[in-house]
């Protein structure tokens, strides 16, 4: 056998096939010196930045640690979470309805849906939040009855119905519904018309066809951007602090309004938002796999599972060694 450390001469197929089986040769990968230098420089800079932050007395890490698990902050966290979830549920339901209405041949439904998207996408979210927060100034009472008559079934004081939390939910949910409807509409449009025809020819009615055939396929297109929207929503809830809805950001502001420790408390907020956003990306990848069923990508395993049973892909790299020889 040839010495296994001998470098492979370039373009000598004969030597390779006759004298030494490829798997006995040592592979010398190309060295990327530039990458190494860049990596060392970047790590040095980052270490310096972290060190300066860690040792910065103005940052008051003791205060960060004190408030990170404080009861008030935790309450805000809970509010932020349910507000995010409820707003997304509202947005998904209403968004689907509006998406279907915008595809309707009924001009009234189509116009209503289009107007909805126009208004809620066309005005700043901050304006919408404040608007809902102060809607009591516009309508003192909310009634349910027959318009232009004196018949009322239900009447309530606006301010007692429209608490800051409800106002926040309406503002975030309605605004998001406008965006969600566009994403859902694009998803519905991505499904081949032949699917609808096949369903109709089996006797399915339009509503069942939409629910059972079209939407599940549209989900493949809908889930990734809606995942982004959920992450955005989580952070946008911070805006409802302007109507003090007792979310995480509202409570953070309440604290630093009293003790003036603005920076440490913003660090506390950032840490929690980062944690929540990270947690949110797990259901997203699960949903993507679930709705990818029947497609070429459905064989993909989750990142977590790949990490736990990671040996397979590494084996394959070793096994393909000879093909990667560089002469």
């Amino acid at each position: 056998m040839a010495a296994s450390t001998a470098p492979v001469p370039a373009g000598t197929d004969a030597v390779r096939s006759d004298e030494a089986p490829p798997q006995d040769l040592l592979v010398v990968p190309v060295r990327h010196w530039g990458r190494w230098i860049a990596a060392v420089a970047a790590v040095t800079a980052l270490t310096g930045l972290i060190g300066s932050l860690a040792n910065n007395a103005n940052l008051h890490w003791d205060i960060v640690g004190h408030y990170l698990f404080a009861g008030l902050i935790f309450d805000g966290l809970v509010t932020t979470l349910w507000l995010t979830a409820a707003a997304m549920v509202l947005a998904l339901g209403l968004g689907t309805l509006i998406a279907v209405m915008r595809r309707s041949t009924n001009p009234v439904l189509y116009s209503l849906a289009t107007a909805f998207v126009w208004v809620f996408r066309g005005t700043p979210l901050l304006v919408q939040i404040i608007f809902w927060g102060y809607a009591g100034a516009l309508y003192k009472y909310v009634m349910i009855g027959v318009p232009f008559t004196h018949i009322t079934f239900l009447q309530a004081d606006t301010n007692s119905l429209l608490t800051p939390a409800v106002a926040a939910l309406l503002a975030l949910g309605l605004n998001e519904a406008a965006y969600a409807s566009e994403i859902i509409r694009a998803g519905i449009q991505s499904v081949d018309e032949g699917q609808t025809e096949a369903a109709y020819s089996l006797g399915m009615r339009p509503a069942l066809t939409m629910r059972r055939i079209v939407l599940p396929q549209a989900m493949r297109v809908i889930v990734p951007p809606m995942g982004n929207e959920s992450i955005n929503m989580l952070k946008m809830t911070a805006l409802v602090s302007v109507i003090s809805a007792h979310d995480l950001m509202s409570n953070i502001q309440d604290v630093y309004a009293q003790n003036y420790q603005v920076i440490p408390l913003l660090v506390v907020a950032s840490i929690w938002y980062l944690i929540l956003v990270t947690l949110l990306s797990f259901p997203q990848s699960w949903l993507e796999r679930r709705y990818g069923r029947g497609t070429a990508q459905s064989g993909r395993t989750s990142p977590l599972r790949r990490l736990l049973t990671g040996s397979a892909s590494r084996l394959r790299v070793l096994g393909s060694g000879p093909n990667h020889q560089k002469g």
Partner: protein, 256 residues
Amino acid sequence: MTVTTPMVHAEGVRKHFGRLDVLKGIDLTVERGQVCCLLGPSGSGKSTFLRCINHLEKVDAGRLTVDGDLVGYRQQGSKLHELREREVARRRRDIGMVFQRFNLFPHMTALQNVMDAPVKVAGADSAQARLDAERLLDRVGLADRAGHYPAQLSGGQQQRVAIARALAMKPKLMLFDEPTSALDPELVGDVLQVMRQLAADGMTMVVVTHEIAFAREVADTAVFMDEGVVVESGPPRQVLADPEQERTRTFLSKVL
């Protein structure tokens, strides 16, 4: 006059898309248990006519009946009432359709594709529907592919699942729109064999196809269409072997 109503009966059926006249007065009759093959050049309106039969397209003028019922309408005295969505869907259950590009539901396995409509539309018991679906898949030679998703099946296998899916609703009429045109040549035979068997079992079928040999062997009537009219129709022996019309002859010389 025959005593029984024909399965499909068309009189002067017209259809246009915008300014384009696609069907210019189609007359055609398919008797119960018969196989009718529609032939003709691309764009002659064969698909459009087929889609009119199960109301995927609305007829503009003329009279089109399936098993004696006007497609899309209910006649009461001298009035025609347009059918509601529910009634349209109800009538489509009895008409199976097989498409050129299969149109299987990609998010369901072969078995789910076949048993979905019986359960969700006809309200069948799901255990019974599963048994029936397995039997149908066996009948098209795919018993061992029940758990496969469409993407894991060849074109020929997908088309046979699509046929099984249509049969699961126990239709009285089957429509085929160029069922083998999207298939690799070596896969055409299996699909045609399933259709041949179906015809032998007495199913009423309207088949748009370019498979002249199949038409000659299986069809009771061959219909040649061009530019939205029926140019010639009759027994395949005559229409396909010894056509009267020049247009039919030209077309046949191109496909054979």
